[in-house]
Every structure is written in C-alpha cells, then in structure tokens.
C-alpha cells in the first residue's frame, strides 16, 4: 500500500495551506483530518446527504466528491470561513434566528448549499429554495425553518 504522496497547496478560508497528501485523499478528509476543520461533516458514503458541502472557488461542491489533489491551487471556503471579522454571514444569522437547525450536524453543509443558491439567485422563491436545497438531507427540522432561514438571508443580503 505504498503510495506516492503529493504536495497540495490550497487557500482555505483565506489562508494558504500546504500539505503532503495521498492522491486518493478526499477533500472532506483533508479539511477535517489534516486541517482540523471539523465543521464540515460526513453523513453518507454515496454523495447524497450534502453535509460535506463547501465552496470551491466560490461554488458549492460536495467535498466528498472531490479529491484533495483536484483542489490543489484552488480556494476553499468552509463553514469556519463564513463569518467575516466576527460578523456572522447572513445565512448563519438566518439559520440561527429562524431555527433552521436542531442537532446542527447538517447545518454547515446546508448553509454552504444555500450560499451557493443565493449566489446564483439572490431573490429565490420558496419553490426555488426547495429546488436549490434538495441535495441536503436534514433529519431533524422537517425543513420548514430552513426555507425561512434562507429567505431571511436573501432579504438581508439584498439589503
């Protein structure tokens, strides 16, 4: 099982991070185990749950479907990088304020997916929110408050 390790350099939450990794290492494991950014979670083995969603160059991706080496030279934003200068991102405010979370395990992935949705569509209808978040499974909330959380964030971001 000897594998040649590869050096990767990624900008994670604005900070340059370099590490030697096995080529088959998934981005999600790189973030969690190598960088200790455990806010990004793993909830399945089959890319269904969305708990691992992060932004790769500003676009939402399920980090269990990306190899760390594929992210080499790119920028990654995780839930730990959403707040800026101690100010919560509107989507974080929305999830907290509107009770869009219970156990909170799906929440980082749900929020990153919502950020991606709002990037593409700053003024989504309820139906568009539901379409945009279909790839995230939440077992706790029943989703009603997640829709409210995203609407709240959309309003805040439109100012």
């Amino acid at each position: 099982m000897t594998t040649t390790k590869t050096v990767v350099t990624l900008k994670v939450n604005g900070v340059e991070r370099t590490a030697e990794v096995e080529p088959r290492l998934l981005l999600v494991h790189f973030l969690r185990d190598v960088l200790g950014l455990t806010g990004t979670h793993v909830g399945c083995d089959t890319s269904q749950c969305g708990a691992c969603t992060v932004l790769l160059d500003g676009r939402g991706v399920k980090s269990c479907t990306v190899l760390a080496v594929q992210a080499d030279g790119h920028e990654v934003t995780t839930v730990e990088g959403l707040a800026r200068d101690g100010e919560l991102h509107p989507i974080q405010e929305g999830f907290w304020e509107k009770h869009g979370l219970q156990c909170g395990f799906c929440t980082p992935g749900a929020m990153m997916t919502a950020v991606e949705l709002l990037r593409q569509n700053p003024n989504p209808t309820d139906e568009e929110i539901r379409e945009g978040l279909e790839g995230v499974i939440c077992r706790c909330t029943g989703y009603e408050n997640i829709v409210r959380a995203v609407k709240y964030a959309a309003e805040r971001m439109r100012g």
């Binding site: 839930v79 907290w96 979370l101 909170g104 499974i137 077992r139 989703y143």
Partner: protein, 802 residues
Amino acid sequence: MKLDRESAGARWIVRPDGCDKVTGKLNFLTDLSFPGMVYGTILRSPYPHARIKAIRTDAAARLPGVVAVITHRDVPGVNRFGIMYPDQPVLCEDRVRFVGDAVAAVAAESEEAAGEALRLIEVEYEELPVIDSPEAALAPEAPRLHPGGNVLHRTHYERGNVEGAFRRCAVIVEETYETPRQMHAYMETEGGLFVPGPDGKLAVYAPTQHGYMDRMQLARILAMPETDIRVVSSPIGGSFGGKDELNIQPYGALLALCCGRPVKIHQSRWESVRAGLKRHPMKIAMKTGVDADGRLLAHRVRILADTGAYATLGAPVLQFATEHAVGPYRIPHVDVEGWAVYTNNGVSGEFRGFGGNQVVFALEGQMDRLAEALGMDAWEFRRINLRGMDDPGPLGQRVAPTDGARHVWETIRRSSLWERRSGRTTDRRAETRLHQRDVSSGSGHVDVRPDNGGSGPAAASFSSPWVRRGVGAAMVMHGCGLGFGIPDPAGGRIGLSAQGNIQVAFGHEEFGQGLLASLQLMIQDLFACDPGDIEIILGDTDRAPHSGSSTASRTTSMVWQALHRLQPHFSRAVCERASTMSGIPVSHLRLGPGGVWAGPERVVRYREIAEKGTEGLQFETQFHFPVTPDAIMGGHYLYTFAGVVTEVEVNLLTGQVTVLGVEHAVAAGPVVNPMGYLGQIEGGNGMALGFALMEDAVMDGSRYVTTNLDTYLIPTIRDVPERIEVYAIEDLPPNDNYGPRGVGEVGSVGLAPAIAAAVRQATGTWINRLPISREQLMRPISTFLHENAPMVSVPDVGKEEG
C-alpha cells in the same frame, strides 16, 4: 393557540447553542481527536446466521501500523450488552445471528491500516439456516436463535368478553396492517473517542441518550468499577432513540484499554445501516366492531413484531404497542396480544414513538374503515367513541385526569383543512365533469403541481383526471415516561458555581431537541434571572447527576419537575447568604437578574455571594417519574394527545403521493420553549412522512438490500409540505401539577394514518401497508380514456379493499 413567532412573544428565543452550530465551532463527539490517537474499526459478520469455527488474527496483528486486534477472548467482563436483557455479544464467540454482529475489532495508526487489517482477519464460518421473518421464527421446526427460544416477549391484555361482544356488533372491520423497517438515519453516524488515563481510568466521548446506562453497561463489559469510567454523551448529531443502546462504545473502550492509546471510531453510513437499530417492522391484525349507533364494542388485536437478532428494548417497545393499540377510545371489550420475535434480521429497538407509530397506523385505519362502513363522518365517529376526562388509561389503569383528547379533537374539527374534506365530497361530481371534458378535448396535461395556498376547495385547481386530492385525519394518545414496572429514575442538581452562575446539571443530552433553550427558559421563569446568569451542564457522568434517560418524551417534564423541587431550597439558601451579607431580612429578598434583590434594587450580586464560598449552596434531587398506581406492566400515567389532518394529492399514473398541507393539534401541557416545541412537531412530521411514503430498510434473506442513503430514501426539502401548522393546547386540569409534557415523539405518530385516510378519499384505495407503494395506486392510462369512466370510485387494481 397557533404556535408561531407572533403567539410566542418573548418566549421565542434563539438556541443558546445556535451560534456554535452555525459557525462550525461546536465539536460533535465524532469531531474530537486526541494526540497519539489511533483508529478503531469493527469486523462484522458477512452472514445473517452462521457458526464461527475459527478466528485467526495473527496476520492482521502483524500488519505494520496495527496496535490492537481483539476478539471475544479479549473481553474481560461480561461479553454481552443490551439495556433490558443483555443478550447481544460484544464480540461473537461461536455464532453470528445477523449481518451486523461483531466478530473482531482493530486499532491502527491509520484508518487505511485498520481497514486492511480487517481484511487479514480470517474467520471460518459455517452457514446456518436463516430465519428471515417472525412467521418463520415461530414455525415449530425453526432453529432456536436463543436459549429461551425465538420469542423475546409476549404481551396479553384482556377486558370484557370480546368474542361475545362481536356477536352483538352491527359492523365489524377486520384488517392486517404492515409497517416498515424504518431507519433513524441520524446524520451523525455512530462514533466517538476513547481516552485511557494514566490512572487506569477511561474517558468515553460518545453520543448516547443515557450516559449513566452506558457507563453501567461498559463497566460490566470491561470488569471495571463504574466510577473509573467517565461518559461524555452530549452534544449529539441526531439520535431519535437510535443511540440509546450501546453501539460502538464497547469496541472503542476495549481497544483503548488494550493498546493504552486514545482510540477514535466513526462508522461509515453503510456500517451504520448494517449494525444500527431500526424501528420494529410489525404486522398488526385488528378486528374491531361497533353497534348500530357506531359505538365501539369490541377490539381484538394481534401484534407480531420483528425484533431482529437481539433484545435491546424489544420487550418494552412491544409493551408500549400493546397499550397504544387501544388508543383514546372507549371500548368495553378488548383483547390485545403481542409477540416480539427474534429473527436473523437487523436488530429493532427504540425509535421515536416507541411502537406507537405502528399500532396507531392500524388503529386509526380501523376507525376510518368503521366510519365509512357506517356511513358516518370519520371525525364524528371518533367523537362519539372518545375517552372522557376521568376515564382510565388504555389498559384500565388509573391515569392523571386529562381532557387532551377532546381538545385536540375540537381543534381538528375546526381546522380549515378538515373542512376541505367534506368540501371535496360535494364537489366530486363537478370535478368529474370537468376532468372528462379536459380529456376528451385533449387538453388534459399531466401532473401540474397545483396551487395550494390553503383557501377554497381544491377542486378548482385540478388539471388532470388522474390527479386526485383527499383529506384525512388521525388521533394520537401517547404515553410519557417508561411506564409501570420499568425503573424510571429522575433527578438533577442546582447550585451556585464558583464564578457566581446559577449552575444546573442534568444527566441528559442535547441532541437537537432544544433542551438547552428549554432549561434556560424554565430557569428564567423560576428565578427571574438573566440568561447570562445561567450555566447548564449536560451529559457528563463526572459532572452531572443521574437523571435517567433522555427518551420517552420524559425529559422536558422531568427537568421541569426537578427544578420545581429544587427551587425553594436554592432560592432560600441564596437569599439567606444575601441576608447575612446585606443585613436585609430574608423575607424581603428575592432572586433576580444578576443577583439578589430587595424591592427595586439589587443588593448582592451572585458573584459576590460565590466569592464568600459556595458550600451549602448545592442541592440535588432524585425522584421517580410519575407512574400509575395500578400494577399493570407498562401502563403509563401521563399522556399527550395529538390530532393530525392532512391533504394529499395522488397522481394515479405514477402513484406519486404528495403531501400538500398538514395541521397538528397537540395537547401536552404548557409550552415552555415554543421554538423547540414547533421544531419537534415539524421534525416529527417529516419523519412520519418518510415512514408513510418512502422509508424502508429492505432486507432480503436477512441481508440489507438498502445499504446507504442512495437507496434508503429520506424526505428531502421537496417532499415536505409547504404548509404546516401547529396548534398547541396548553390547558391542564386544575389539579395537574406535572407541568409540561415532552413533545419529542407525539408529532411523529399520527401523520401516517392521516395520509392513508387522505389517500383513501383521493383514490378509493385502502392502505394497509407502509410505506405506501406507488404500484398500489397506479392506474393504467386507459382508465381515464373512457367517456363514462367512473371517477368517484376508481376500480381498485391493488386488491386492498378492506
């Protein structure tokens, strides 16, 4: 009261743990790591039933990076676990009974090395005949899965004379209902961190709903004193009953003690599916009869529960099902019998609703069938049979007087959704004509999702003859606590911390339900203090006292009762200190924001009191959850009630059922934490929707066919209704001092039968099996092409007519 932000006013508070959860700061126990940590993994049986002839671990142990390989020979204490009957091997000795059975475990420097080591462990098996259903387990020639045979538990409750009463019935309905192997599918799979200390002690950081129970079970397995084990069990990434029993803890603990290093285990989703608990699949046969006026006379129930390979809480779940099969109805003649039967299927155990979900689906199905057979309105039929305030409980036991059933019945009757049910009946003919015209002119278009803004009869927006709508409703009566005969200890602690905080400690866990917010609100209610004055300790056997389990809709009620017991002692002691310090008589002092107050003035800060020493300012209480005085096994004393009404749309070409709207009426005493309450009902609603329409961990020959979230379908944000309303009924009878009841379970029970009733109205098909299969509802397109196609009663292709 419709529960929402407006009605909740100042009680609508955000979660105290919310900030850490939205910033990723909160560490789940499966997020933890420790210097020098190694990775644990578990070898499980590939066969549902086999004899183990040999286990060889030498090659695995020699693999570089492997630090420990364990088998049953390495278990120092009792090689069994199980909350109720410890019959599940930690590591199997000579026989495996299901595909999740553990045979060996490995700890290694990396997950890859641990995985590779598992492949190097040689286990010689000899396959044994598989028992893949409870019926097969009960066959006389079936092999015995356990020394006591294949029946884990049998229940029987009888009153009156059922057979005699059936002879006097005007209408009798007989039906057998089947429910699926639902999976908890908490998003955080089982895992944790196990840290051995230099003093021989062990720290366990692993999610569970009852830390002290885990500690007791681990002590028994490890042959260690309980006090040498610390169990940190909170926070949890979802549980729903599924993490109450031990899961990976024994392996992490054994490996850590074996290699003397911290061990981390975190199961993959497939491992979780394979080894984790499920909801008991049940077959429930009911025969129920009424007199000519529609009064229930006789009710016979037979419950057959597939408990899987081991006991865990299979017996109490069956007990609960037996009690709840009678429901909130007055029935003079009752005969309920249940069997929980061992098979080689996955282990069934505790799951939100605890056996109630299955039997309520059946019971409410009976109510709808009887009402229809009598030509009565389904809700009116329930009313004339509903229990009264002072009626005994379902098993004839004394219960706390409650009018909850009547209250939720009223609320549903007045609901706008329920009105749409009768609206539909009268509109049927008009709809039919409209649809036929659409088809003949060729303008019918398929499956347009109609507007469901919630006003006016739905008919107007119908676009295709194969799209039908229906409304259905169901009643739920749900016991709180574990019931008579099962130890149900409760307790908690309050004190002033060295930092001057009002510190409360409970051996309960926060798994998302919002216990932290509920506690904060209760403490503010009792002491009029600021949120900043409060410190809450949960789920840590070294820091919090015994409180019993965080299950069975008992926690809210339990902590409320504990705090009310503790409040006078604590308040008085703190005021006495403040009196000594300020010279103001105790009778003039009271607790308030930041300290102790006299009139409009704060005279001493909590911190100042703490600086002078906190000895004598800690109070602990231990008591038993309220239980019926009548010695009827499993009988409850406190109940919550719920009514659920839903409107569905069925596409008869695809069999797709869409839930358009749901209203819940819940009677569970005062609402402590409106946001948490609403969240529990909405979350339970989503889970019930899955139970009704899509979730089933399918097994074939006792092997999982659904192995991951690609085939085990959980409702997504597109599957849940856009309109869901929750009405909370807070009234309690004047002498009821038990306070708020938990609502963690009751919202997950009634939706499935309500959906089934709505589907019946929409399609004419009776549902007796969950999840509702599309095949059962699908009609060939030719059905809709005939000029005079009967639109009211669609020919039933699935022969499920009851």
